[in-house]
């Protein structure tokens, strides 16, 4: 527990983000790439895109979750260490958008994993994605408080 709290202390300084394309047209993913590239540059805020969920604090999900991706998305979510937050980027992930009646969907995302922040748009602008991830920080902050309370109770 001491070890966890030690890491929680440094949490607000840096947020590591990973992404999962659950069947997106790639539009949202291109906007995420724009978010990490020099024009928007989320690293200014201490955020960083990482290649594995095992290092991530926030999971950004794009796409309406096709049947092919359901188990994979769930596994990626489960592989993230606690505390974690999920940001759903794009209309597809939030509601299925134009694909909402498709036979091939298990989504939207919140049917598979708990979502903390929805970023709407088709695709959303990088500013909106940055705002969404910043809101995820608030969620993680509250989780941090909960973990600390649990730590005190022990």
């Amino acid at each position: 527990m001491i070890k966890l709290e030690k890491y929680m202390e440094v949490f607000p300084k840096s947020l590591w983000v990973t992404t999962c394309n659950s069947g997106s047209c790639n539009g949202c993913d291109i906007e995420i790439v724009a978010t990490i590239s020099p024009r928007y540059d989320i690293e200014r805020f201490g955020m960083k895109l990482v290649g594995t969920p095992r290092h991530a604090d926030v999971l950004i999900v794009t796409g309406p979750v096709t049947k092919f991706m359901t188990k994979k998305l769930l596994r990626i979510y489960n592989q993230m260490p606690d505390p974690k937050a999920v940001v759903c980027v794009g209309n597809c992930g939030a509601s299925g958008d134009v694909f909402y009646k498709s036979y091939n969907l298990d989504g939207p995302v919140d049917r598979i994993i708990p979502v903390d922040v929805y970023v709407h748009g088709c695709p959303p602008r990088p500013e909106a994605i940055i705002e969404g991830v910043a809101k995820a920080v608030l969620k993680l902050e509250s989780l941090r408080g909960e973990h600390q309370k649990v730590g005190e109770g022990q």
Partner: protein, 112 residues
């Protein structure tokens, strides 16, 4: 004791043991810096394999050299075919080639 003089310098067992102890200290220290609060026995403890189930069989985890170097192998096919043709698989032949190549390189170094 424990020292082998090569003519160019020496090879010391004690120095190597000290090196490995120092290296092991740094490796273990780096490892200790990692997070230890993973939930053991859950998926948090498993290898990330792009969201797929981690293959039990080791073969599924690696790309064979024949796949990784396919283009390289194809481009140098005449060269490789000749090498494979020369390869008998007999240890004395391999050693003979080794001695010949070493002698050839020594001749280049000494006389050229």
């Amino acid at each position: 004791m424990g020292k082998v003089f090569t003519g160019f310098g020496y090879w010391d067992v004690g120095a190597w043991i000290i090196f490995f102890v120092v290296a092991a200290f740094y490796v273990l220290w780096l490892r200790y810096q990692g997070r230890s609060d993973y939930k053991k026995g859950t998926e948090q403890d498993e290898i990330y394999w792009s969201g797929n189930e981690t293959p039990e069989d080791g073969d599924g985890l690696t790309v064979p050299a024949s796949s990784a170097y396919w283009g390289f192998r194809k481009a140098l096919e005449p060269f490789y075919d000749r090498l494979v043709g020369m390869h008998t698989g007999i240890a004395t032949d391999i050693l003979g080639f080794y001695i010949l190549v070493t002698a050839f390189m020594a001749a280049i170094i000494l006389f050229v």
